[in-house]
C-alpha cells in the first residue's frame, strides 16, 4: 500500500508544512525592500527546518533493540558516523563554494550566476531521481514482492514512476538549458542564435518521445527506459536554448527558473513531501509570471521566444549602410545641458552593465542634484539580461530606490523633462515600436524619451544596432545629441566637466 509506505509522524508533516509557509513568507517579503530582508531570513529558517527534519527522521544508522529504563526493550539508533560525516562534509564543501561565490560575484555577473545556480538545482533533481530509481525502498516508493519460488522483485509504484520520470526529465532540461544560458550570458558562447535545420521537427519529436517513454515507464521499469528519458531530456534542454538570442535571455532565465521549481515539485510528489511541493509550486509560478512579464514587455508571445531565432537578422545590413546626418556632442555639451535642466531622466540599459558605468553615473547624478536638478531613473522591464537587472546595478551604486521608476510610472513624465540621458539602452527607446508597423519591435512598449526636450544618447559607435537588428530613428532626430564613446568613459568625462 502506498499510504502505508509513506506513513510519517505528524510532527514531521507539520515541520515540513512550517518550512513551506516560511518560503511563502520569504517571497511575500519581496513586495517591498524594507520587508525583503526579513523575508530572506525566513527563507533560511524554512530551509533549516526542512534539512533538520530530514536529518532527524532519516538519520543514517541501524535501529536495534536495547534495554531501556526498567525491564523494557527500546529501539535505539546506532548511528552510522561514517555516513553522517560524509553528509556534513558534502554540506560544508557545497556551502563553502556557495558562500565564496556569493561574496565574490560582481553584480553585473548576476544573470550568469543565476543561470549557474539553476543548472545546479536541475542536476540535483536528476541525481535525486536516479538515486530514487536505484534505491526505491529507501524513498518508500516501492513494494517488495517475494514469490514462493524465485528471487524477490522490487516494484516501484506506477504513480511514483510517472512522478520520477517527470522529475528527472524536467531536472535534466533545467540543467542543460541553464548550462547553455550560462555560456551565452558569460560570453563563452556567442549570444547569436544558433539555428539548426529542422529544429522544430527535432524538438517536437524528442519531446513526444520523452512523454511516450514516461508513459511506457509505468509498464516497464527497466533501467534503459529511465535513463533514455534522462538522456533525451538533457538533449532537448540543450536544443531548446541554443536558438535563442541574447536579447531574449530575460525570458529564458525566467523560464529556467520556473522549470527548476517544477522539477522540485515533481520530486516532492515522489517523496510525498509538502515542503518540496509548496516550494516547487511557488518557484514554478514565480518563473512563469516573470517570463510572462518579460514577454509582455517585448510584445512577443512565449511561443515565438521559445521558437527562437530573434535577432538573427545580420546586424547593420541595410540600416547602418545609410548615412543619415546626426548631431554629435561632447561631454562638455552634455554637462552644460544637464546642469541647466530642471529634470533629467536617466535611461540605463545593458550597455551600462557591460561598461560598469553605474558608479560613475551615480556620481554624475549626485553633482546634478547638488545643483538643484531633479534626477530620476527610468527602467524598462527588459533592460539588461534578467528581470530587475538594472535595479540591482543601480542599488549597488547606492542609488536610492525611490528615485528609480518603472516604465508605466514614469513614461508620462518625459514630456515635462528637459534631458533624457539614455545610456546603453537602444531598442527600448525606439519610437519605431509605436509607429512603424513593419518593424520587428512594433507594439513593444517603449520609453517615450523622444518627448523630452533633449535626448542625450550614449553609444559606443553609430555602426551597431540594437539586439533586434533594427535602426533607431531617434539617433537622427533634431533634439537628439549622440555621445559616442564607452559609457563609463563618457560619464566620467561629464563628471569632470560638471565638477
Amino acid at each position: 500500500m502506498p499510504e502505508a509506505a509513506h506513513a510519517q509522524p505528524a510532527w514531521v508533516l507539520i515541520a515540513y508544512l512550517i518550512s513551506g509557509v516560511c518560503f511563502i513568507l520569504a517571497l511575500r517579503g519581496l513586495s517591498s525592500p524594507e520587508s525583503s530582508r526579513r523575508g530572506n531570513r525566513l527563507g533560511m529558517i524554512g530551509m533549516l527546518i526542512a534539512v533538520v527534519t530530514t536529518l532527524v527522521t532519516h538519520a543514517p544508522g541501524q535501529w536495534t533493540g536495547a534495554w531501556g529504563p526498567g525491564p523494557r526493550i527500546m529501539n535505539v539508533l546506532i548511528p552510522d558516523w561514517n555516513t553522517i560525516g560524509l553528509i556534513f562534509g558534502a554540506i560544508l564543501v557545497g556551502g563553502g563554494i556557495g558562500l565564496i561565490t556569493a561574496r565574490k560575484i560582481q553584480m553585473t555577473a548576476m544573470p550568469q550566476l543565476v543561470a549557474a545556480f539553476h543548472s545546479l538545482v536541475g542536476m540535483a533533481a536528476v541525481l535525486v531521481g536516479v538515486a530514487a530509481f536505484l534505491n526505491p525502498e529507501a524513498f518508500g516508493i516501492a513494494v517488495r514482492i517475494t514469490p514462493i519460488y524465485g528471487p524477490s522483485v522490487i516494484n516501484i509504484f506506477p504513480v511514483s514512476r510517472i512522478e520520477m520520470g517527470l522529475g528527472v526529465a524536467i531536472g535534466a532540461i533545467t540543467f542543460s538549458g541553464s548550462v547553455i544560458a550560462f555560456l551565452k550570458l558569460n560570453g563563452n558562447m556567442s549570444g547569436k542564435p544558433i539555428l539548426l535545420p529542422l529544429r522544430h521537427v527535432i524538438n517536437l519529436s524528442t519531446l513526444v518521445a520523452i512523454l511516450g517513454l514516461i508513459a511506457y515507464f509505468t509498464q516497464d521499469q527497466a533501467p534503459w527506459v529511465f535513463f533514455t528519458i534522462a538522456g533525451l531530456s538533457f538533449a532537448i534542454g540543450f536544443l531548446l536554448i541554443i536558438p535563442i538570442g541574447g536579447a531574449d535571455m530575460p525570458v529564458v532565465i525566467s523560464m529556467l527558473n520556473s522549470y527548476s521549481g517544477w522539477a522540485a515539485a515533481a520530486m516532492g510528489f515522489t517523496l510525498h513531501n509538502s515542503a518540496m511541493i509548496i516550494t516547487g509550486a511557488l518557484v514554478g509560478s514565480s518563473g512563469a509570471i516573470l517570463s510572462y512579464i518579460m514577454c509582455r514587455a517585448m510584445n512577443r508571445s512565449f511561443i515565438s521566444v521559445i521558437a527562437g531565432g530573434f535577432g538573427a537578422v545580420s546586424s547593420g545590413s541595410d540600416a547602418a549602410a545609410i548615412d543619415r546626418p546626426y548631431k554629435r556632442g561632447s561631454a562638455e555639451d552634455a554637462a552644460f545641458l544637464m546642469s541647466q535642466a530642471d529634470q533629467v531622466i536617466i535611461v540605463p540599459g545593458y550597455g551600462m552593465a557591460v561598461s560598469q558605468a553605474q558608479h560613475a553615473l551615480r556620481e554624475m547624478a549626485d553633482i546634478l542634484k547638488k545643483e538643484g536638478v531633479r534626477v530620476k531613473y527610468a527602467i524598462h522591464p527588459v533592460a539588461g539580461r534578467m528581470p530587475g537587472h538594472m535595479n540591482v546595478l543601480l542599488a549597488e551604486a547606492n542609488v536610492p530606490y525611490d528615485e528609480v521608476f518603472e516604465l508605466e510610472d514614469i513614461n508620462s513624465e518625459f514630456a515635462q523633462t528637459d534631458v533624457a540621458f539614455v545610456i546603453g539602452a537602444n531598442d527600448v527607446t525606439n519610437p519605431a515600436a509605436k509607429t512603424d508597423k513593419s518593424s520587428p519591435i512594433y507594439g513593444m512598449p517603449v520609453l517615450d524619451v523622444e518627448k523630452a526636450r533633449t535626448v542625450l544618447f550614449v553609444k559606443r559607435s553609430m555602426g551597431g544596432v540594437g539586439y533586434a537588428g533594427v535602426d533607431n530613428e531617434l539617433f537622427y532626430r533634431d533634439n537628439t545629441m549622440m555621445l559616442l564613446a564607452d559609457a563609463k568613459k563618457m560619464v566620467e568625462e561629464i563628471v569632470k566637466s560638471l565638477g
Partner: protein, 103 residues
C-alpha cells in the same frame, strides 16, 4: 498522505504562488530569482534521504553529490540575495525635498 491530498497542496500552492509573486515589486525581480533559486534547493531533502539510506552504494554517492550541489545553491542563493537586498536603500536625507517643488 495520499495522492489527492498532495495534489491539493500543490494546486493551492500554485495559486498562493501566483498572488504572492504578482505582489513582488519589479525592482526586486533579480533578488526574487535568486531567492527562488535558493528555496528550490529544498530538493536537498531528497538528496539527504538518498545519502542517508543504506542498501545501495551508488544511490548513496549520488545522494551525497546532490547534497553538495544543493548546498552550493542554498548557501550561495541566500547569501547573494542578502547581499543584494542590503544594497536597496531609501533616500538618506529628506532635506532636498524643499527644492523639489513639483510642477
Amino acid at each position: 498522505m495520499d495522492f489527492i491530498s498532495i495534489l491539493s497542496i500543490f494546486v493551492l500552492a500554485c495559486f498562493v504562488g501566483y498572488y504572492v509573486v504578482w505582489s513582488v515589486t519589479p525592482a526586486l525581480h533579480t533578488p526574487l530569482m535568486s531567492v527562488t533559486n535558493a528555496i528550490s534547493s529544498v530538493i536537498v531533502v531528497g538528496a539527504l534521504i538518498a545519502a542517508a539510506a543504506a542498501g545501495s552504494a551508488s544511490s548513496k554517492w549520488l545522494g551525497l553529490l546532490a547534497v553538495a550541489l544543493a548546498s552550493v545553491n542554498i548557501f550561495g542563493g541566500f547569501a547573494v540575495t542578502a547581499r543584494m537586498l542590503a544594497m536597496y536603500k531609501k533616500k538618506e536625507r529628506p532635506a532636498p525635498q524643499g527644492e523639489k517643488t513639483h510642477a
